[in-house]
Amino acid sequence: MTLTAVNLELRKTRRLRVVLVCAVMVAAVVALTCANLMSDSARAGFDDPGAQPWESLLMSYVMVTAMTSPLLVAVLASRQVDIEHQGQGWMLSQVAGLRPGRLCRAKATVLGALLAVAVPVQTALVVMAGLAAGITVPLSPGVWVQYAVGLLLVDLALLCLHVWLAARVENQLVGMGVGLLGAFCGVFSLLMPPALARVLPWGYYAVVSPLRMGDDGFAALTPGYGWLAVFLAVVAVLFAVAGHRFDRTEA
């Protein structure tokens, strides 16, 4: 039944333009991240390891994704869930034996798969843009992969929260408002003390950052994988419990 539910969700994405929304957001992230590559000051350091051109690009990527990812997951969740409110889909599914919690899990799976494609593509495009712009300093791909994986995991966790929110609150402006708030929190969490960032769901964009701004430029940072694991586990439990409770909700 779960596989059927996922297949049905894929069918429902038709004309919802979630792929287009994702593609536009990826393009925007790449454009915003790489905007600085065109400046003369940046280009001057492309062959100087001391100028840290890759680190600069990655830090830029971290900031832009912390700002845009909360919005992207809010938009995707809202589009995919609102159709159930508008089309009496919850009831249609329930009388077919497909409970709302399972429907939410199917939605999260489909949108999560989309993000699982979008995030690596987006990361690869940023790296390719750096290479195309002429950065000749050797690239450390490990740190980019590490960040991309962390980013994807945080996106997936927030996606689950937004799918649940969109399902429970019919007015999708609420979810979008939370996404907007998340965008601010995401960016500012990069400037927050780590203990404070870990309290906020959007603070985990900072937790997975592999770099920090130091007095002498960018310094490597070991992402808080332990905290990330706890965060993911908490979200997974909350999503499971919320889905179970949702199944028991009366129409």
Binding site: T4, N7, L8, R11, K12, R14, R15, L16, I83, Q86, G87, Q88, G89, M91, L92, S93, Q94, V95, A96, G97, L98, E250, A251
Partner: protein, 299 residues
Amino acid sequence: MNDVITTHHLTKTYGPRTVVDDLELRVPQGCVYGFLGPNGSGKSTTMKMLLSLARPSRGEITLLGRPMNRETRPALLREIGSLVEAPPGYAHLTGRENMVIVQRMLGLSDRQVSRAVATVRLQEHMDKLVRAYSLGMKQRLGIAMALAREPRLLILDEPTNGLDPAGIEEIRGLLVSLAEDGVTVMVSSHLLDEIDRMASVLGILGRGRLVFQGTRAELFDRSTPDLLVDTPEPGRALALGVPAVRSERGLRLSGLGDDDTAALVRRLVGADVPVHGVRRVQQSLEEVFMDLTGREGLL
């Protein structure tokens, strides 16, 4: 005749408020069962409980001869088509794409889907987006979704809401023909006339309680026809304190039994009020309904 739906002490409360109270429904097989009641009388809640969309606070439900519970629910729901509240349909998809979703959800064959679409005569509009459908077309699509599984029981909550007279007539004809084919149809409405023209069995709900259940003829048997007293001097009769209203040719009295009628005539004659005639007049279905539901709903 077997009952397709039976409920025993079915009750639903929300906090201190009892919405459905001790319902004993009996829906016979192969009929159109008209479920009537004013707005807020508990019709939709009852239907939701029948479909497991709401949990009864008390009581039992038996559908198609099997008790409705967690174990039997999936199998039972596969045999029940339903339309509760607004008609379902994803607006961004075409009618055909919507039907495919239902088909995959229930594992139906192409033949079943085509037949359901043909039954509601929606074939020509299947490639249009549902957002471009009229309300009538949406209702028909919703009914097609309910019919696609070839249900033995169809539960429809106000399926003609918002339809124009032609649309209402079309849905009415469709439901009657389904019943003729052996499908039991339970249809709710707060519009008496609509139900009266298609239902063979009526269930009337008032303030959450079943105030009547049976055929139209049984309903009239239970009602007391009004009494018309022909008199040229109705004012004198009213001055005697007779509980009547003026009518074209005298007075009209409701709810008077045979003994009371005899006593009334004796009283009028004794007071020298000229009585030219006394006759019974059958109440309209609407009047019977209003009496039963305590005149709480406009129809």
